[in-house]
């Protein structure tokens, strides 16, 4: 699979739906279904998930391992809300798709990140003059 044609859309925002009435929420659901439905019909959607509003963050290792648990998030907390993995011909196309997401109207920001064939370690490896790939091509779903 050519990772270069794949882009990850990461949706970050607060729980903006709490500010809306039931009718407004239904309207956004309908708009989102339409946007998403059209996208699925093009065959460009490889994966998508909403994320639950709780998290754990792990740092350190061995005796220094720390787990910071959070959740349920406060409504005002900016957090990663979900992702969409798309197939697109270019970053510009992925951006054009992201721009049509109804969530943008409610303060969500969308990071558009190309998938990489290289592990981030390869970046450092090149700085060190190490030739070849550090990690074999990772499999994807």
């Amino acid at each position: 699979m050519n990772s270069k044609n794949q882009y990850l859309l990461l949706f970050t925002g607060k729980e903006w739906w709490h500010q809306l009435s039931a009718e407004q929420i239904q309207e956004v659901i309908d708009q989102s279904k339409e946007w998403y439905g059209k996208l699925v019909a093009t065959g460009k959607v490889k994966a998508s998930q909403a994320l639950a509003r709780e998290s754990a963050t792990i740092t350190g290792s061995g005796k220094n391992t720390r787990v910071f648990s959070d959740g349920p998030f406060a409504e005002s907390k900016e957090a990663l809300g979900g992702f969409l993995l798309l197939e697109a011909a270019s970053l510009d196309e992925a951006i054009a798709i992201a721009k049509q997401s109804p969530s943008l109207l409610h303060g969500t920001t969308i990071d558009v990140r190309p998938l990489s064939d290289d592990c981030p370690l390869d970046f450092r490896a090149r700085q060190l003059g190490i030739k070849g790939r550090m990690v074999e091509q990772l499999a994807t779903a």
């Binding site: 794949q6 729980e15 659901i29 998290s55 391992t65 190309p114 998938l115 990489s116 499999a139 779903a141």
Partner: protein
Amino acid sequence: MLIFRGTDWYKGLSAEEMQQVGDKWMAWFKGLMDSGKAVAGNPLEREGKIVGKNRVVSDGPFAESKETIGGYFLLKVNSMDEALVIAKDCPGLPYGIRVEVRPVAGECPLVEKLRNEAELASA
């Protein structure tokens, strides 16, 4: 979902450490895929764009940062606890990588809100 945050943790690694971490990471990921506990994993390019308010597109602040996302795994496990145990094995942790563990949602939060309001209204 495991979200790997940080683009500076591997900056100071020597060539030997690089190889060790790379080997360990590959073994970790392969083991998870083979056992069916991971269904996908991908690193992300260091570039990208952000679409924000009024659909304005800006360059990502992807300079070295502890928060920038470098990649992700999608796990299939039975509980948050199980995901945490797996996350603690991340070979980047001794060097300062941060692993965010997020459960995927059973349903869209907007749909959940409507359902809750309907339940309250009919209670």
